[in-house]
């Protein structure tokens, strides 16, 4: 399925993706902001709930930032180029939902940062729609889904650690963040299909 209109790629700017990336780059330029924006469990439970959203734009190192932005940037650009539905809502709601999952299921984790949960959501969302397209894109999307599943399984089995430091210790990979990101993509995809089915009827 391809919902895109016949426009040239050059004329269609991926506005949402650029906003997502721009936000992370700006925050990285002002390290002092991170203390007010990062997901901080105790601060959130004290009422600073904006951190549930803004925390995803805080990164712990340049490589952390670059990898996350590349993944989200490419996936977001393709999604917008293909004009897949509800991408704006997906980007708006995913950070809140992922943070809610972390609050519930990762009580020992005090700080969290990074756009990788949203990047995972975007890649899974894109790949699920891509399964309806013609080969070879279909196979690429299938491989992406299998790759994401394998990545999550690997992280679950190894408790993989990112070898970056916040000055306070190591940063652990939040598997719950990635799983919830993938599930949110699945929910949005299912809902889009249901709405599309209703519209057809």
């Amino acid at each position: 399925m391809d919902a895109s209109k016949p426009q040239s790629l050059a004329r269609r700017l991926p506005v949402i993706t650029l906003l997502l990336i721009g936000g992370a780059v700006v925050i990285a330029q002002f390290p002092g902001w991170s203390a007010w924006l990062i997901y901080d469990r105790s601060a959130i439970l004290s009422g600073e709930i904006w951190r549930m959203f803004t925390g995803h734009w805080v990164h712990f190192s340049t490589s952390h930032l670059v990898y996350d932005l590349l993944a989200l940037g490419v996936a977001g650009w393709i999604i917008e180029a293909k004009n897949l539905p509800h991408f704006g809502w997906l980007c708006l709601l995913t950070p809140w939902l992922v943070s809610a999952v972390l609050l519930l299921f990762e009580p020992r984790m005090n700080l969290f940062g990074g756009l990788s949960a949203l990047a995972t959501t975007a890649i899974v969302y894109l790949a699920l729609f891509g399964l309806h397209d013609a080969p070879p894109w279909r196979w690429v999307c299938l491989a992406a889904l299998m790759g994401i599943a394998g990545k999550i399984l690997f992280e679950m089995s190894t408790g993989r650690m990112m070898f970056v430091t916040t000055g306070d210790g190591p940063v652990a990979v939040s598997v719950a963040g990635h799983i919830s990101g993938a599930l949110i993509a699945l929910l949005f995809y299912g809902q889009s299909k249901i709405i599309a089915g209703r519209d057809r009827r």
């Binding site: 990898y67 972390l102 650690m161 190591p170």
Partner: protein, 291 residues
């Protein structure tokens, strides 16, 4: 009369040779300074077998660094044990600081405690380590041991150092100073050896009978310094390998995180390359009007 003189000379010669032989063949004499890890951990348990367990590493780790206490003053091989003046507490502390510096470079290490040898009981074993763990709140212990022999006699001797992983045999020559240091890093709770690093120092003998004791003291100090430098270099390599092993062998180590840890999402190089490939494929299919 002449016969008696010759008999006396002969007897004196035999006694002289015998007296000299006691020193030459009886081990040659020398200095031996040692603190033995195996004796500290497993003394009285010659038949011990470690049960295979999977260590649970609770990150970030709190690491303790300590020198194993000197074991038995009436030791082996007829060497006289020195009083460790050549390897003073301040030298030990300097080496422990160098080693803690190596650990500090890794984000999975939260803190390092330098533990004075006085807190370790000779032949204390893991029961003693458990006490240290409780006292200092450490998860992992880096146990440092050493063995230094200075050969002052004639002939070929050897230093045999019994480490946890096997015996080192080092041939010695007159007035040589051979030093072996060892850092064994244990997960105290599971009693598992995580990794170890050796350090060897070899100072060639240059002492003469006139300045023998002074020169030996200087050589001893130099030997410890050489071995320590070598140990720190090897430890760096072993730490890197351990880091890789922990990341890639989930069946051998279980990783947990202490409360209050920091989490994040991570895309590595491979994932990013794949997503980049997706982008290239999308462009290609778009140009060929297949998507």
């Amino acid at each position: 009369m002449i016969k008696t003189v010759w008999l006396t000379i002969g007897l004196v010669a035999i006694v002289a040779i015998f007296v000299a032989g006691c020193d030459t063949f009886g081990g040659g004499g020398g200095q031996h300074r040692a603190s033995n890890l195996y004796a500290y951990l497993y003394s009285g348990q010659k038949e011990h077998i470690d049960a295979p367990t999977v260590p649970v590493l609770s990150l970030p780790l709190r690491v303790g660094v300590a020198f194993v206490p000197v074991d038995n003053p009436n030791g082996r091989n007829n060497y006289s044990y020195g009083d460790d003046l050549s390897f003073s507490e301040s030298q030990k502390m300097d080496l422990m600081k160098q080693i803690s510096g190596q650990f500090k470079q890794y984000p999975f290490v939260k803190s390092i405690e330098l533990i004075p040898t006085a807190y370790l009981t000779p032949r204390g074993g893991f029961a003693n380590l458990d006490q240290i763990r409780t006292m200092y709140g450490v998860d992992v212990m880096a146990l440092l041991s050493y063995d230094q022999v200075q050969f002052t006699g004639e002939g070929v001797l050897s230093l045999t150092y019994w480490t946890i992983v096997g015996a080192y045999v080092v041939p010695g020559e007159k007035n040589d100073t051979k030093t072996m240091m060892d850092a064994a890093v244990y997960d105290v709770a599971s009693r598992k050896l995580l990794f170890r690093a050796p350090g060897i120092g070899n100072v060639k003998g240059s002492a003469t009978p006139i300045n023998l004791s002074e020169q030996l003291r200087a050589d001893s100090k130099k030997g410890f310094e050489e071995a320590a430098t070598n140990l720190v270099a090897n430890l760096k390599v072993q730490l890197e390998e351990f880091k890789e092993q922990v990341a890639n062998a989930p069946t051998e180590y279980k990783i947990e995180y202490k409360p209050g840890y920091t989490g994040g999402g991570a895309f590595g190089g491979m994932e990013t390359i794949f997503v980049g490939g997706m982008g290239a494929c999308f462009l290609w299919t778009r140009r060929n009007r297949k998507v």
